[in-house]
């Protein structure tokens, strides 16, 4: 049964919001999976809290609409308990890079087999426009009306330093490529990280800026760590520079979930072993 992939929930993103592109892209990917005969019952979407996270209400698949900053540990728990499911996280940049940054680094370190999509609009959308860790220096948001005093960090560099095994950057106005990057991330066995430059129409509309700077990382050798670093550093989310889109780095490594094989015990076996341990301690 081909299901309707969109729920009846009213969509409340602003006109022009990049989240529409992400939703559409995911919908297409899911539809594709279904066409290939995969059951969407085995897919779980995990979101944080923020504009991006509303996608949990809109996509008609299993979802866990978690807390601000906490997609990754929830996704990790799901994957550990049931390694057969495909777990996709949609997180915000406030979510993933501020409130819950530590989890992101540990997900990379562990190489847990989940796909992390960061809707990086470089602003807190839902709380009406404060700077995030990827906002440029001097960003005037509601919490920094005189401009921020911090440089942004570069999430791709952080992921490279943390051992992530799939690192990509997409852009909501390059949808075919975005779909390709996410699809490949889902297929990738291990932690797949995709930073998506997402247009926020209301609080930080970078469309013009991005349009003239983005280019496709065609021909880049994704197995070369050094080159990946160089490409990641080319644009630092602050200075003017060409902005590469595509897969920066990919490699194969055993996953965290693989290292915790399921071990089933029948209720009787369980009771017997408890009893044995009681006896051994007497």
């Amino acid at each position: 049964m081909i299901r309707n992939l969109i729920t009846p929930a009213q969509n409340t993103w602003c006109p022009g919001c990049g989240n529409f592109a992400l939703q559409h892209t995911l919908k297409e990917i899911l539809a594709g999976m279904e066409k290939e005969g995969r059951s969407l019952d085995d897919v779980v979407l995990v979101t944080g809290i923020g504009c991006h996270a509303k996608i949990a209400d809109y996509l008609n698949i299993n979802s866990v609409y978690t807390l601000h900053g906490r997609t990754i540990p929830v996704a990790t728990g799901i994957k550990l308990a049931n390694p057969k499911v495909t777990v996709i996280c949609c997180a915000g940049d406030g979510d993933a890079y501020a409130e819950g940054l530590d989890h992101l680094i540990f997900a990379a370190k562990r190489n847990i087999d989940i796909t992390m999509i960061v809707h990086n609009n470089r602003v807190y959308g839902l709380t009406t426009g404060q700077y995030t860790p990827t906002s440029p220096l001097g960003f005037k948001g509601k919490s920094t009306p005189a401009g921020t005093t911090e440089y942004p960090f570069n999430p791709l560099e952080l992921m490279l330093a943390s051992g992530a095994t799939y690192i990509a950057r997409g852009y909501t106005r390059k949808m075919p490529q975005l779909a390709q990057l996410i699809r490949q991330g889902i297929v990738h066995k291990g932690f797949a990280f995709i930073d998506v430059l997402q247009i926020c129409a209301s609080f930080f509309n970078m469309t013009e800026y991005y349009q003239s700077r983005v280019y496709d990382l065609a021909g880049h050798d994704t197995a070369d760590f050094e080159k990946a670093c160089a490409k990641a550093r080319e644009w630092d989310y602050n200075r003017d520079a060409p902005i590469a889109l595509g897969v920066f780095y990919e490699r194969a490594l055993p996953t965290f979930d693989d290292r915790y094989p399921a071990r089933y015990l029948s209720a009787e076996e369980r009771s017997r072993r408890i009893r044995d341990l009681f006896e051994a301690s007497g």
Partner: protein, 552 residues
């Protein structure tokens, strides 16, 4: 009560805990019930550690002021403890103590050299010497070594034997009729109870006094088919655990107060999203970092009210290893039936104390079954039902779109801001609580003990109950111990208090948290007996203080 107490003391790193455990096993195999209390500062080597083993012909769960044997690995042990037990029989390490007035000494160094045994076997020397002083038959000693120190048993037996042979029996302890029991620490009992309740994943970040539960389950992961994970911090712990539960795995976490602080946001998420989770909180002396290795009972109110907003939660505080085992299993089952967060609230005394447990005589509690989805599409994760319990399905289940949500949501799990729907869903969660409260009537939520008809009663909770039991036995009092705190067992509690004219709350905190809670539920204590220095009440001390308030 026939009883005997042994204090084994030395410096951190001397293996005092192990020595205490071995002494306890000797008594266990002599037919006694035993209890071990360990006292150690928060450091790795050098500070003063001691283990107190109390053995008796009836179950005990507290140590007392009187000490019969003092096994001293160093001078500090003598300096600190001998003044409090001038009549005790001393067995001391000749290498590190100055001359002793009475008792016997044995040189660990000499014996280890003679047997060319490594330093780690030093405490076995002391065990051998003690066993001889206490006149414990060698067969029992050898047996206990083989059974309970299987790694390098031979080496330890050799040094113990030599000390045994060199020593004299000065104060023999008679064997009594009775089988050996299982000796379990509170944390081991909690762990086994969780396993009995179907545990399949345990997630925890180390924090005293919960860490030994992590170590125990990690060490037995293979045996019980568990995934045991130690993540980056407590926030990750609770959220990973919730993810695991969302996917259908019975999951528990463990921590102490400071770590629990970091879990409160996840707790409220579990309440709203209706995710079953068991949270073990083992209390230590607070506030803040406090005294990491000492006990306290100052987090009852925190656990009852933690997390923003209101949602049903189950809170259970067992008093000893037996209760810890049976209730941990019940808590897991009930968490899953009601899809709520559920607590096992322990304290350092319980978690790290060791108790005699008789598996066959544990009071079995009912097993609550979860309500599973019958497969009739469409699946609605938060379907409202008469009892408020929505049938469970997990992601991966055919034809079920499972949507969980931390926002206010409708029955499908979609976010809503509709006032009527918000009210409805809050009522749905309240119905679960009402139903749970109803179901708990069949459980022993309030334990009434001692002289049941006495009009003077001790009101207590958690591990303090054990000292209260002894005081009550001596003074002919009633003991009222709520085991379940949320939902509060009003009916059983007022029944327990019927006829009481003088109610004395006994707690290891500075404000009388249970006394305040009782007041909220219509019962006023006439006096409080409080202690908050991290050391548990001894029955002797508690007896004195209770007598002061009974007849001032």
């Amino acid at each position: 009560m026939k009883e005997v107490s042994v204090l084994v003391g030395g410096k951190a790193g001397d293996g005092i805990n192990n020595a205490g455990a071995m002494v306890a096993q000797l008594f266990n195999h002599l037919g006694y019930f035993v209890y071990i209390y360990t006292d150690y500062p928060s450091l790795i080597r050098g500070g003063h550690n001691f283990a107190l083993v109390r053995a008796a012909d009836e179950p005990v769960g507290a140590y007392n002021d009187r000490i019969d044997y003092l096994v001293a690995l160093n001078q500090e042990t003598l300096d600190l403890h001998l003044p409090h037990c001038p009549d005790c029989t001393v067995v001391a390490n000749a290498d590190l103590v100055k001359s002793i007035k009475s008792g016997q000494t044995v040189s660990i160094n000499t014996i280890l050299k003679a047997e060319s045994a490594p330093p780690i076997t030093g405490n076995s020397v002391m065990i051998g010497a003690f066993a001889k002083a206490a006149g414990i038959p060698w067969e029992i000693v050898g047996d206990v070594f083989r059974r309970h120190m299987p790694k390098a048993a031979d080496e330890n037996i050799r040094v113990a034997r030599r000390a045994y042979d060199e020593g004299l029996t000065t104060r023999p302890i008679p064997a009594i009729a009775g089988p050996p029991h299982t000796l379990l620490s509170g944390n081991e009992a909690i762990g086994l109870g969780l396993v009995a309740g179907g545990l399949s994943a345990y997630i925890s970040y180390p924090m005293t006094p919960s860490s030994t539960l992590l170590h125990f389950l990690a060490g037995n992961a293979e045996r019980f088919g568990l995934k045991v994970i130690h993540p980056e911090n407590e926030i990750a712990v609770i959220l990973m655990a919730l993810g695991s539960a969302v996917a259908g795995a019975r999951t528990a976490v463990g921590t102490s107060g400071g770590g629990f602080c970091l879990m409160t946001e996840g707790l409220s998420f579990a309440g709203m999203a209706e995710i079953p989770i068991v949270i073990v909180v083992s209390q230590r002396t607070g506030p803040s970092t406090g005294l990491p290795t000492y006990t306290g009972q100052a987090e009852l109110r925190f656990v009852l009210h933690a997390g923003q907003g209101e949602f049903p939660r189950l809170v259970v505080a067992p008093a000893d290893a037996g209760e810890a085992y049976t209730w941990s299993a019940a808590v897991m089952h009930l968490a899953w039936k009601y899809q709520i967060p559920a607590f096992v609230l322990a304290d350092k005394t319980l978690s790290e104390g060791t108790y005699s447990v008789d598996y066959d005589r544990l009071t079995g509690l009912p097993v609550a079954d979860p309500v599973l989805w019958d497969g009739q599409a469409p699946y609605r994760r938060y379907r409202d039902t008469p009892a408020g319990i929505s049938p469970l399905a997990f992601p991966g289940r055919m034809d079920a779109v499972v949507k969980m949500n931390s926002y206010a949501h409708d029955e499908d799990g979609i976010t809503t801001e509709d006032a009527a729907l918000v009210t409805l869903m809050t009522k749905k969660r309240q119905k679960k609580e009402a139903q749970l409260k109803e179901e708990l009537i069949r459980y022993p939520c309030v334990s009434v003990r001692g002289t049941l008809g006495a009009t003077t009663a001790l009101l207590c909770w958690g591990s303090v109950r054990n000292a209260c039991d002894e005081v009550a036995a001596r003074l002919g009092l009633r003991v009222i111990q709520p085991v379940v705190f949320s939902p509060f067992p009003d009916q059983q509690f007022s029944a327990a208090c019927r006829g009481v004219q003088h109610l004395i709350a006994v707690e290891e905190n500075a404000t009388g948290q249970l006394a305040a809670l009782a007041r909220e539920h219509g019962v006023s204590a006439d006096a409080t007996v409080l202690k908050y220095d991290g050391r548990p009440f001894t029955p002797d001390e508690l007896g004195r203080r209770v007598q002061e308030v009974i007849a001032p």
